[in-house]
């Protein structure tokens, strides 16, 4: 495990740290790693889409966040492997007795990648920018606790106090995703209100400074972004040599996943993330020759689910869907559908066994919060038929299922056409439900057209979607489970919870939000999982494994299921190996 | 040793069944140096196939047997590459259709220079000089360099024909084969071409094989004449080829007292040619005040060189085009004022027979369809009537009804013209306008059709307006003659007197090169 040492370093410069400035006496560096690394080399990774902006306040798409993540640092960082917050730019922090105020003491002597010193003013500036309505930064909602923004006060040049409206269990997580902005570069743009057009891809490298391990070197439109080593980075290895080891980090933009796999196989890219199971099998076949490091990191936090449209359709003339909602709102109907679905078939055929079947909303990948007591009934058509019979459904001689009023049970599952896996799942479910007489049609729709139906016009019957992301904490799902939440898709826009169990979930979620004790929070969240598994607003299907690959001679490659494979880019280095010469 | 010897030459077009008549059947012919031989016969008798066979220009589907020896060397069976040096240098050919035989996208002078460069190592300048010399050789005297750089569509028919001959002669070949050199030319241009051929033969000693259906052309152009029919060589009656065939005198026009069938008063017509790019199109005045009247039953001849407006006049009379001013009356009714049913009755009464019979009939239609078309269009009688009337009309124009359902694309030129006449008769016209209807036909066929028209005039009392550039034809067929020049009538009167006046006035307005008037 890494040694966690906060030490005022006063060692003399050791060894020929490549062009990086030798650690200055006054820098309070964070020491990490065994120090066996070797400087030099260029690491190339292919991104599936081109990042849209380098401005942390505006980035909403994942490619932009992945690149920005390598150029910025946050005050407190949550270790994705152990889920435990660790000191980052703040070398230590303390929480007030009432759990609302946090005092963070910043590391001294640190400098931005352009050499400008870093201090509390930059932190104050960052919070001011993120809380400003005009900027409409996506991180703004993180800073809203109990509906009121956090109040930030500067104690001295290297100490800051952040006070929340009410205690929040996930306070440390709040600091995790806030990238500290350089006041000296963005203050004028912020004051003139032109921050929205600051730090675009075309901005010259000199005008972009950050505290991350790398800084911008070059952007070539449509092809790649090249980051170079940040000579002032505030981390060093056990041998007191300043990190990162790599000279350059290059992100290539490739059209689609197949192009990405081909580039990785040809050696043009060194790391590949989020590989689909089929392509992972193709890479595995090349393994003996090419000596890749292929890792199956187990189930991710994402969960795929089938959701029936139970929205209130008053005012939207969708009579056909309204009629069908009588089925969708019937618990026996939903349970029958869940029982009839062949989850093993999905895992084997869609994911080639590299996925975990799901019966609840928490994936096995999130061992910290998973409620293991949730029943996981095997597929049984008979039980499904019994449940349907109990609700007054019957079957015609030709096997077609009809409801109490004699109407044939027929509905469509809409899927996003750009996601092959979900369309395949829908096709399997279509065949499964045919066995209990349901006539299901699969309708692939372009992604935005589908979303428009699900969250705006409610003009759909059922759809397969997926949630989840980089944060295991229950709070990241708050918008899904609260009845008034923006992602409460099965019935949106509820002012007050329409059903008793949704009311109970609201209470549970709000209580766990402010419960600091982990065991108590776990108990509350387990109850939520149990209700969801019983009421089945979402019929959970499977959680795909995280599959990553890297070159054989890339050392310290420790991809974490819940984060970007280059989360420890500052520790990566190339072991000298007999492979062909470096480019 | 003869220059060209054809021994038992036979050409058969392959997809045709075994028993079919070969296009050229066992022809033996020889031609000495400097000799001028004419080949004549009805259209479709194989004379053109014979010419193409000599130079190996037959399509791939042709199967050639027998021998073709040219100055001792066997040509039959030679590959395209071996024949190429001979074509244009040893033997060259002058094609019939001057309008399409020249490359429209290349100046004519350059096309002559091309032949020079194909057969010699002359550079661009050398070739240009020899081409200019060739132009002079074929009778161009004034501003030769302008002609050299002109494009084919900017020259007249006669000029284009002379370019073709220049192309054939520029490499001084031993033998020139001329396929219908004068067919599409008017009277004076034809005389020029024959003179050029004689001039080249005397000056360069070039042998000529002239193919033509017209006896006068061969009389002027050839020392001896070979006849052909159905692919075989047939003896030509010695004198028949010399004098023109005599027709029975045309019916004297009926008394002047009858009301005139056709009256044309001060007819004028201008064409506004909208040039593709020029903003202001320039006007060409085609008819400048025409007065004409025809009693019923008369046969009036209308003569004039190409471009004098005779076709436009024909179209105005037939109602295809509206005149700018003046009026046209047929049987009392004026085309300009009519609409609907009356205009249709007017149109039926005045029918136009076009020159190019191939284009006037839709090749996909069967003969019956073509003749019955007017009945179908105007809905006269039932479907069954149409067929029976069409067959009856075909008999009336002496066409074999057993081929009634064959496509009219498969009929000969003469037969197609008869179909056109039958079609016109379907609507019982009173006036037939023959716009160069007979100039494309060979002598024999033309005689038969004139006989047919004469007969129809007696049985149906038809009135004919016969338009042609061929004065000889008009002189024999029409009772009266009108001569048109640049949109005005320059002389009119009984046919015979009118003709003498034309010949006597050496400088007739439309004989451009007076020096060459004295025909061969």
């Amino acid at each position: 495990m890494r040694i966690l040492v906060a030490l005022t370093l006063c060692l003399m410069p050791l060894g020929a740290a490549s062009q990086s400035a030798a650690p200055a006496v006054s820098e309070e560096l964070l020491i990490e790693g065994q120090g066996a690394g070797r400087h030099g080399g260029r690491l190339v990774m292919a991104l599936r889409a081109e990042p849209r902006t380098l401005n942390p306040a505006l980035a909403t798409d994942s490619p932009s966040r992945e690149v920005i993540g390598r150029m910025t640092a946050d005050l407190i960082h949550v270790n994705r492997a152990s889920q435990v917050p660790e000191p980052a730019l703040a070398k230590s922090w303390s929480r007030s007795a009432d759990g609302r105020a946090y005092t963070l003491r910043l590391r001294r002597g640190l400098r931005f990648s352009d050499g400008h010193p870093f201090d509390a003013d930059d932190v104050m500036f960052t919070f001011a920018v993120l809380l400003d309505e005009r900027v409409a930064a996506s991180q703004r909602d993180l800073l809203m606790v109990g509906g009121k923004p956090a109040i930030v006060a500067k104690v001295d040049s290297h100490t800051v106090r952040v006070t929340l409206a009410q205690p929040s269990a996930a306070a440390e997580r709040m600091f995790d995703s806030i990238a500290i902005l350089p006041k000296h570069q963005l203050e004028t743009a912020f004051r003139q209100g032109t921050l929205a057009t600051a730090w675009t891809l075309a901005t010259p490298p000199a005008a972009i400074a950050g505290l991350g391990p790398f800084r911008l070197k070059e952007y070539v439109a449509g092809q790649r972004i090249v980051l170079e080593r940040n000579p002032y980075y505030w981390k060093a290895d056990a041998a007191a040599r300043r990190l990162p080891y790599l000279d350059e980090l290059v992100f290539l933009f490739t059209g689609n996943e197949d192009a990405q796999v081909i580039r990785f196989q040809s050696g043009e890219s060194d790391v590949i993330a989020r590989v689909s199971p089929e392509n992972f099998a193709v890479l595995a076949r090349d393994q003996p020759v090419k000596k890749f490091q292929l890792r199956d990191l187990g189930p991710s936090l994402d969960y795929n689910f089938l959701v029936f449209n139970q929205n209130d359709l008053a005012g939207k003339n969708l009579p056909a869907i309204a009629r069908k909602q009588r089925w969708f709102s019937d618990l026996n109907f939903r349970t029958a559908v869940s029982r009839a679905i062949d989850r093993e078939g999905i895992v084997r055929l869609v994911y080639r066994g590299r996925a975990a079947a799901l019966w609840g909303n928490v994936s096995p990948g999130n061992s910290r919060w998973l409620n293991t007591a949730i029943p996981r009934p095997p597929r049984s058509v008979e039980e499904a038929r019994a449940l349907l019979k109990a609700s007054g459904f019957s079957w015609r001689p030709d096997g077609a299922l009809v409801d109490g009023g004699g109407e044939r049970v027929q509905f469509t599952i809409a899927t996003s056409s750009s996601n092959a896996q979900r369309t395949e799942m829908a096709t399997l479910i279509q065949a499964d439900l045919k066995e209990i007489g349901m006539d299901v049609r699969v309708v692939p729709l372009e992604f935005r057209a589908l979303l428009d139906r699900v969250v705006q016009t409610f003009d759909y019957e059922a759809t397969i979607q997926a949630f989840g992301g980089g944060d295991a904490d229950p709070n990241s799902e708050i918008h899904v489970w609260l009845s008034r939440g923006g992602n409460h898709w099965w019935r949106l826009g509820q002012k007050t919870p329409q059903t008793t169990w949704e009311a109970e979930i609201d209470r549970l979620m709000e209580r766990q939000l402010v419960t600091l004790d982990y065991a108590e929070r776990k108990r509350l969240y387990d109850r939520v999982q149990q209700i969801v598994a019983e009421q089945l607003p979402f019929i959970f299907l499977a959680s795909p494994h995280v599959l990553v690959g890297a070159r054989g001679d890339l050392a310290n490659f420790q991809p974490a299921a819940l984060d970007h494979p280059l989360w420890n880019a500052d520790h990566l280095f190339f072991r000298p190996q007999l492979t062909t010469g470096r480019r | 040793m003869a220059l060209l010897e054809l021994a038992r030459l036979t050409v058969r077009y392959l997809p045709a069944p075994e028993y079919a008549q070969p296009a050229v059947d066992d022809v033996t012919l020889c031609l000495d140096e400097g000799e001028r031989v004419g080949v004549t016969g009805p259209s479709g008798c194989g004379k053109t196939t014979l010419a193409l066979a000599v130079l190996g220009l037959l399509p791939a589907t042709a199967e050639v047997s027998g021998s073709i020896r040219f100055s001792g060397r066997e040509l039959a069976g030679l590959s395209d590459a071996d024949l190429r040096p001979i074509r244009g240098a040893g033997v060259s050919i002058v094609f019939q259709e001057s309008a399409v035989a020249l490359n429209p996208l290349m100046p004519v002078g350059a096309q002559i220079a091309e032949v020079v460069r194909a057969h010699s190592s002359d550079g661009r300048a050398g070739a240009r000089d020899r081409a200019l010399a060739a132009l002079e050789d074929v009778g161009f005297d004034r501003d030769i360099s302008r002609i050299y750089d002109a494009y084919p569509h900017q020259l007249s028919g006669g000029q284009r024909q002379r370019i073709l001959i220049a192309q054939a002669m520029v490499c001084k070949p031993a033998l020139v084969i001329a396929d219908e050199p004068t067919a599409s030319l008017d009277w004076t241009a034809r005389a020029d071409i024959l003179r050029v051929i004689r001039h080249l033969n005397e000056r360069h000693g070039t042998a000529f094989l002239v193919i033509s259906h017209s006896a006068e052309v061969l009389a002027a152009a050839a020392d001896r004449i070979v006849g052909m029919r159905n692919g075989r060589v047939v003896p030509v009656p010695a004198q028949a080829s010399a004098e023109p065939v005599v027709f029975p005198a045309s019916l004297p026009s009926r008394g002047a007292g009858d009301a005139p069938l056709l009256e044309v008063r001060q007819l004028t017509k201008t064409f506004r040619q909208r040039r593709f790019l020029a903003r202001r199109g320039h006007e060409v005045e085609v008819l400048r005040g025409i007065d004409l009247s025809m009693p019923p039953g008369q046969t009036l001849g209308l003569a004039g060189e190409s471009g004098c407006g005779k076709s436009t006049l024909a179209r105005c009379i037939a109602g295809f085009e509206a005149a700018d001013s003046g009026d046209v009356r047929v049987a009392g009714s004026n085309a300009a004022t009519l609409r609907g049913r009356e205009l249709l009755r007017y149109r039926n009464s005045a029918q136009l027979i076009f020159q190019d019979s191939a284009a006037a009939l839709n090749p996909r239609f069967s003969a019956v369809d073509v003749v019955a078309e007017p009945l179908v269009i105007q809905g006269i009688g039932t479907r069954h009537d149409h067929r029976s009337r069409a067959l009856d009309l075909m008999e009336r124009v002496q066409l074999p009804t057993d081929r009634a359902d064959a496509r009219c694309g498969e009929f000969s030129g003469g037969q197609r013209q008869r179909l056109a006449i039958a079609r016109a008769l379907a609507v019982q016209p009173r006036l037939l306008i023959l716009d160069e209807a007979l100039s494309g036909l060979d002598l024999v066929t033309r005689t038969h059709i004139l006989g047919l028209l004469r007969e129809l005039q007696q049985t149906h009392g038809l009135t004919y307006l016969c338009i042609s550039h061929d004065l000889d034809l008009l002189a024999q067929f029409a009772s009266d003659l009108v001569v048109l020049h640049r949109g005005r009538i320059v002389s009119s009167g009984p046919a015979v007197s009118c003709l003498e006046r034309q010949v006597a006035q050496a400088q007739t307005p439309f004989a451009p090169t007076a020096r060459l008037v004295a025909a061969g």
Binding site: E257, D258, I262, S276, E278, N279, A281, V282, A320, D342, G345, R348, L349, R352, G353, T412, S416, S417, S418, A420, T423, E424, A426, T427, L428, Q430, A431, R441, V442, V443, P444, L445, E446, A449, D452, D459, Y460, E461 | A318, G319, F320, R347, N348, Q351, L352, F354, D356, A358, A359, A360, L361, N362, P363, R364, E373, I377, Q378, R407, G409, V427
Partner: protein
């Protein structure tokens, strides 16, 4: 020459018969999933069994998945399943209304015969190819007919009337070629009601495609009509008082028949291919209805391309049919040109 022509017609007729009676010739229902054997290679038909005995009736072995690999299968030599003719299997409708379940060949019991292997869901590729062919060819021909009808109407109108009408129509044709069709198709599909049957959606889109594709053939037909209009026999017919409709029907349109045929030979494959792009954009026919378009779409995944060669079947079928159509149209065009001078 006649023998080659007979061969061409023979193969084309055979292919179309196979596709028309897909239900009978295909051993399985195209949508029936055998989830045990995804991406199975074409089954090997044996005459000689393991002990070397020869059997008149060809037979196959049952497959057992190879535990080591996801998509490799071992033949179980102990079980021998002879191929049977005229077996009873999945129901299908020969003609809407007549339903039967007789198939030309098949094999009994747990074993499955997949002459062209299976796809990702274990569905029989041969059955999908035949059933899919029916949909793709109908879609291809339908779209071609639509665009040619539109092209003929507009081309003839422009060619025949000339002047400003001609200019307006031809400029609209240019415009149609300029519009990027991608998001038009999005707009059309997304704006449609959800409950449409997969096949209706597809046919509707194909009609939209057909109508969009009229611009190029229309320009061609206009050119031909312009020249046909000047022909003397058209002038003569007009002299007899023939109305415009008659002139078009009897004289002008037959002229364009040749060009329309050659365009058809180009458009049919183009529209079947357009179905591939539609599927790539997720707008093609929905599962489980098979079509050459979505089968080719599946082929366009890297892992399929590199490991399952039998998934190329739709590509090969499309090439054969396109070549057949090309020869057919050039032969007919040749014969028609001989007649028309």
């Amino acid at each position: 020459m006649t023998s080659r022509r007979g061969l061409l017609f023979g193969t084309l007729a055979a292919i179309h018969a196979l596709i028309l009676f897909a239900g009978f010739f295909a051993p399985y229902d195209p949508a029936e999933q055998a989830r045990v054997i995804p991406y199975a290679p074409p089954s090997r038909v044996h005459f000689v069994d393991v002990e070397g005995r020869f059997h008149w009736r060809p037979f196959v072995y049952a497959w057992t998945p190879d535990p080591a690999a996801y998509d490799r299968y071992l033949e179980d030599p102990t079980s021998r399943f002879p191929l049977q003719l005229f077996v009873r299997g999945a129901e299908y409708s020969v003609v809407p209304g007549i339903v039967t379940n007789v198939h030309l060949f098949g094999v009994a019991g747990p074993a499955r015969v997949a002459l062209l292997g299976t796809d990702g869901y274990g569905r029989d590729v041969l059955s999908r190819l035949l059933h899919g062919g029916r949909l793709s060819l109908i879609a291809g021909l339908l779209a071609t007919v639509c665009s040619l009808i539109a092209a003929a109407l507009i081309g003839t109108l422009a060619g025949f009337s000339g002047g400003t009408v001609d200019q307006i129509l031809m400029r609209t044709a240019d415009l149609f070629m300029a519009i990027p069709w991608l998001y038009l198709l999005f707009a059309v599909r997304a704006a449609l009601p959800l409950q449409m049957d997969a096949r209706d959606t597809f046919l509707l889109l194909v009609v939209v495609l057909g109508v969009i594709g009229w611009a190029r053939p229309a320009r061609l037909i206009r050119g031909i009509v312009l020249s046909a209009r000047e022909r003397t026999y058209v002038l003569a017919a007009r002299g007899f008082g023939a109305p415009r409709r008659y002139l078009l029907r009897r004289h002008v349109l037959p002229q364009t028949a040749g060009a329309m045929l050659t365009q058809a030979a180009l458009l049919v494959p183009h529209y079947v291919l357009a179905e591939v792009t539609l599927s790539f954009l997720g707008l093609g026919v929905g599962e489980p209805v098979p079509s050459w378009g979505n089968m080719l779409g599946a082929l366009q995944q890297y892992h399929v391309l590199t490991s399952y060669w039998w998934m190329f079947a739709p590509a090969v079928a499309l090439i054969v049919v396109t070549f057949g159509y090309h020869l057919l149209t050039s032969y007919v065009h040749e014969r028609m040109r001989v007649v028309a001078i």
